[in-house]
């Protein structure tokens, strides 16, 4: 067992004994085997001495037990790290920012408090998964549509407080942005509610975000100022109809007018999540292997660090009859209007791009209840249907033949602008060649990831190996260099695994990192003993800043 830094064994043991009295013997976990379950399955430090492993875990059943646990932690100075369903693969899993933290596992708090399909919201506890909420909604016939990430075993609350993203309509797919009101246990064990939820007997908890006064909710996401125990979310009413279509453009630089057109569509509220693809891109081939298939020639082009040149990919695309880029547009609403909006997209928005092609993929009337029909939906997440199909991708993809052991996402925020994205291709492929990066598919075929509304992500996985620790060490080094490189160009990560959170937080460095210093001041005032998730979001409490 790794004891948390700065905690005496007798204090730790005394705290465990008190935790046990609060939650019961069954819900306190201390064995190595149990701690294995809280490791980050995709850790680049897997099996290394500095792997971020927890010392113990405690699983409270209700908010009162959370309060008691936090008070005990305060009494003994025990650092704690709260998880909801604890998945978050690619961004750190269940692992804390500091070895030896006690995990506060909130899976037992799994109540759906309320769903309303007239005013379109829900209120949930942290242990509710997307699967749970979907089942709850469908068993009761509520006419609301969820917004889900890939995969669907996570928690709406947990995903939101890590700034997770989804696949439907603009504001709904920003999961923290679509939250409304929360209940939080503060580091001293007090319980607080925000926004309209702060009104006793509030009737608009999940409808008005601000209530009155300072808006503090942001302190509880990608940060460490409290443990969120309830959260409201705005939900999309179930549409009458769903139409999914694709726009294909032939040339590399067509990305510029393509993005301009998509922005025009989306910012008028005509489409949901635009899903970009490139038939030659390794990640696209991996995510949709039934559609995008590798050939030996393409594998050779993709095998070089940084991929091949635009000209080589362009020649390959033309030989194969592929477009260079495509974007799937998803329309939601009355049947007449979704088809009218598609006509507008074809005839007005994208028609000026030479060689553009249009295809209708699928359309469905709601409610979509037939299991066989649901099975055939190409992108279930676009209809808010949680699933785990993303885990079968590796098994089916020939695009990345070497078996891997997970990944860490590199995911800087970039502008929704084709010229800038093409510039980013140049920056990252050059870096990949110079740094000889072979553990990540970096190429001029990389597509904008458009889950965030109003910005894109330049996202690629950095693959993990359980057997090649040297490769992992190089990947960590490469990742840190890429973080700096992105920042030099005005970009930085939206989300990252704990081992990179300090580096990412440091890039938000305007005026001598005043943003981080401000958060540290708040941390020291609100959590003077520094017990809640030390280091999360790059925010370290005084006790660990001084010892660093």
């Amino acid at each position: 067992m790794k004891l948390p830094k700065g905690v005496k064994a007798e204090d730790f043991n005394a705290a465990l004994e008190e935790f046990r009295r609060v939650v019961g013997e069954k819900w306190l976990f201390t064995s190595d085997e149990d701690m294995h379950l809280y490791r980050d399955a995709y850790s680049l430090q897997w099996g290394e001495p500095n792997e971020l492993v927890a010392s113990a875990a405690v699983a409270p059943e209700n908010v009162e037990q959370v309060q008691d646990v936090v008070r005990i932690a305060n009494k003994y100075g025990i650092p704690m790290f709260a998880i909801s369903t604890g998945k978050n693969l690619g961004y750190g899993g269940s692992a804390p920012n500091m070895a030896g933290n006690v995990i506060v596992d909130l899976k037992r708090m799994n109540k759906v408090i309320e769903v309303d399909d007239k005013r379109n919201f829900c209120i949930v506890e942290p242990g509710v998964s997307y699967f749970d909420l979907y089942k709850y909604i469908h068993e009761r016939g509520f006419k609301v549509m969820m917004d889900v990430p890939d995969p669907g075993w996570g928690s709406p609350l947990g995903n939101a407080v890590d700034h997770g993203l989804g696949y439907t309509w603009m504001n709904y797919r920003d999961h923290f942005g679509s939250h409304c009101g929360m209940e939080v246990v503060l580091p001293d064990g007090e319980i607080m509610r925000t926004g309209m939820a702060a009104i006793p007997g509030s009737k608009t908890w999940a409808e008005n975000k601000y209530g009155y006064g300072a808006y503090v909710d942001g302190l509880f996401a990608q940060a460490n100022f409290g443990i969120v125990t309830k959260m409201g979310f705005w939900m999309q009413p179930q549409p009458d109809h769903f139409l999914s279509c694709v726009v294909k453009v032939p040339k590399y630089r067509d990305l510029i007018p393509l993005i301009d057109g998509v922005n025009k569509m989306e910012d008028q509220g005509l489409i949901g999540h635009p899903r970009y693809s490139c038939p030659m891109d390794p990640l696209c081939m991996q995510m949709e292997p039934e559609i995008y298939k590798p050939t030996p020639e393409l594998m050779a082009l993709n095998s070089r660090p940084g991929g091949s040149t635009v000209e080589e990919y362009q020649a390959y695309a033309e030989k194969q009859g592929h477009e260079f880029w495509n974007v799937v547009l998803n329309f939601y609403g009355p049947k007449e209007t979704v088809f009218a909006n598609w006509e507008y997209a074809k005839n007005t928005v994208f028609a000026p791009i030479p060689g553009v092609r249009f295809e209708e993929i699928e359309n469905y009337a709601f409610p979509l209840e037939n299991p066989e029909a649901i099975k055939k939906v190409r992108n279930k997440v676009a209809l808010g249907i949680p699933n785990m199909s993303i885990f079968s991708i590796g098994a089916r993809s020939a695009a990345m033949p070497e078996p891997g052991d997970g990944h860490a996402w590199f995911s800087p925020i970039v502008p929704r602008n084709g010229e800038e994205f093409i510039y980013a291709h140049g920056v990252f492929t050059k870096a990949a060649r110079e740094m000889n990066i072979t553990s990540a598919p970096i190429s001029v075929t990389n597509v904008p990831m458009s889950w965030q509304y109003r910005t894109y992500l330049y996202l690629f996985p950095v693959f993990v190996s359980r057997s090649d620790k040297e490769r992992n060490r190089k990947s960590i080094d490469d990742f840190n260099k890429l973080i700096k490189l992105a920042a030099e160009n005005g970009w930085s990560e939206y989300r990252t695994a704990p081992i990179f959170q300090d580096a990412v937080a440091a890039t938000y460095s305007f005026n001598n990192n005043i943003l981080l210093k401000f958060q540290e001041q708040l941390k020291d005032a609100i959590d003077p003993r520094g017990i809640l998730a030390p280091g999360r979001g790059g925010i370290w409490p005084k006790r660990y800043r001084e010892n660093s």
């Binding site: 294995h36 995969p151 099975k375 590796g394």
Partner: protein, 219 residues
């Protein structure tokens, strides 16, 4: 041809439990499971019809009287329609021969219900036609597997057959076997490694060695 490397990983004497099922004839030379008062009830044998060996496992498991489910590449339907509710009420055992990602998901879902992987094997196909099997779990299952594979029983049938040997009165072990598969035993070779596994309550079992629970490259 068969070569064997066995190394003992632990020594936990445990009460014997057996999965309900009928042994295949080729498995009859393996040490017979003791007839125990308690047998582990298997909720379902999971297969993926997209992989010939896995499909063969499903067919063989069905022949043995097990309830079977085809995940067709994705565990979602099985989870949503069957397993989630079942495990909420009673965390019962399941077994499978699937791609590694399906096990990765089911293992973690099982953790939330106090279940663990108590038998785990990875079956890698080599270009020369050899199958490389790495197994860990109850010794009787490993021994039964070795016996069957040496008699060129197809992988699917072999894995289905050893379910009846899920019986852990002996030490929990790990073994690595390199074996040539019988040509056409499971139809075409699957070009990705498959894994076979049993997920059950750990109260009576040692968890299977986790050293090779690599996941497929996934996003």
């Amino acid at each position: 041809m068969i070569s064997r490397r066995v190394f003992l990983q632990g020594s936990m004497a445990m009460g014997g439990l057996a999965l309900a099922g009928v042994s295949l004839p080729a498995l009859s030379s393996a040490p017979a499971p003791r007839q125990d008062k308690t047998s582990l009830s298997l909720f379902s044998a999971i297969y993926d019809s997209g992989f010939p060996a896995s499909a063969a496992f499903g067919a063989a498991a069905r022949q043995q009287g097990h309830s079977i489910h085809d995940i067709e590449g994705d565990v979602t339907g099985f989870w949503m329609d069957h397993l989630a509710e079942q495990w909420q009420h009673a965390p019962v055992a399941i077994a499978g021969l699937t791609h590694a990602s399906a096990l990765f998901v089911l293992e973690r879902l099982g953790w939330d219900h106090g279940l663990r992987v108590i038998f785990r094997a990875r079956h890698d196909v080599h270009a020369d036609g050899h199958l490389d099997h790495r197994l860990s779990g109850p010794a009787p299952m490993l021994n039964a597997f070795e016996t069957a594979i040496s008699q060129h029983v197809s992988l699917g049938a072999c894995v289905a057959g050893i379910l009846s040997h899920c019986h852990v009165e002996h030490a929990s072990s790990a073994m690595s076997i390199m074996a040539r598969s019988r040509p056409g035993a499971d139809g075409d070779h699957d070009d990705i490694p498959l894994v076979s596994w049993v997920i059950a309550s750990p109260s009576s079992f040692a968890s299977a060695c986790n050293d090779f629970d690599t996941v497929e490259r996934i996003v």
